[in-house]
Each structure stands twice: as C-alpha cells, then as structure tokens.
Subunit: 110 residues, 2 copies
C-alpha cells in the first residue's frame, strides 16, 4: 500500500469519521481527492451528515482506484442499463396482463 | 466562477479532452480532484478511453459540487432505490401472470 501524503494526527478533521486504525481509507481518499477542499467541505456540512459525506467520498475514491476510466460513473452506467432492462421487462408484463384482461372482458360479453 | 488553480496551456494533458473554451470544466475538476493524480491516471489510460475518463471525472466533480454530502453516490443510491421499486413491481406482475396461467390450466381441466 502506498503511504498517504499526510501524517495522521488526532486533530485531523477526518479522525471522527475515519478511524486512525484504517489508514488505507485516508490513503485512498488522498490519492484521488484534493484533501484541502474535502476538509473545507466537511466543515460546511451539518454534523449529522458528515459520516455520510466521508463514507461517500471513500466509496468514490475506491471506485476510481478500482476502475480508473469509469470510477463511480461506471456503477451509474450499469445501474441505468439494469433499469432500462427492467423497464422493458415490466412494460411487456403490463401489456401481457392488459391483453388478458381485454380477452376476459370480451369473453364475458359474448 | 472561481478561477481554476493552474494556468491553461496548450501543453496541458487535458487539452484534447477539455477544450480551452470550457475553463469551467477544468475548474470543477481542480476544485475536487488531485489533478496531478488525475493527469497521471490519464497517461496510463488507453488513448481511445481517455475521453470517457475525462467525461467521467467531470461528471463526478460536478455531482460533488452540486451535492457535497452525497455526490455521485447519491445518484447511485437513487438508482438502486428505483431498481428495488421496479423489481418489486415486476415480481407482482410475474405472480399475477402465473396466477392467471394456473387458473387457465385449471379451467381447461374441468
């Protein structure tokens, strides 16, 4: 593992959200993001949202290191593709059900 | 718009993928990402994948600036939620169709 660029200190604004015994989390973050900006954003975020924020930037950094070309956007692309497939499938099922309902109504009439 | 931190030059590795007349794109990137790392990643990526890479980091940077807490991960969360809703809906439709098929088979027998 590459070492991260800063020395972890107890005063670091990320400590409450990134335990000191998980230096690889901070290392991933600092490999991808501009940490001075990330720290400023953290301070502007409501305290009850800060853990979500840190978890989301860790997820994003890890996705970018795992898949440098697509990163998180690859996950979004795959989910959109899955959504399209499910929407098409759902449309077919709705049409099949409507067709059956029409034929039941027709049969009831004659 | 905040100015970006570097002076754009024709030699910049991002120029072929981020036109000089769109400085706001680079500004968004440089506000979020560590650009030295992003430039190193760019050089390691196959030339035919580099535009995808630059578009994906721009998308990610813009998502983080728009939604500092969740960024791209908020889009992933929403898409997963939509997928769950569609899966449940599809399951209901499948069960309804199976139910109809069973009743048709039963009616044909008696």
């Amino acid at each position: 593992m590459e070492s991260c660029e800063c020395k972890c200190t107890k005063e670091c604004v990320f400590v409450p959200y990134l335990p000191l015994n998980k230096p690889e989390k901070y290392a991933s973050l600092s490999k991808v993001f501009k940490m001075s900006k990330m720290a400023r954003l953290l301070k502007d975020i409501e305290p009850n949202q800060r853990q979500v924020y840190v978890d989301s930037i860790c997820f994003e950094a890890e996705a970018r290191l795992r898949d440098p070309v697509w990163g998180c956007v690859g996950i979004i692309r795959d989910l959109k593709l899955q959504l399209e497939i499910l929407k098409r499938e759902l449309k077919k099922k709705r049409m099949a059900l409507e067709e059956i309902q029409r034929s039941i109504i027709l049969r009831a009439r004659f």
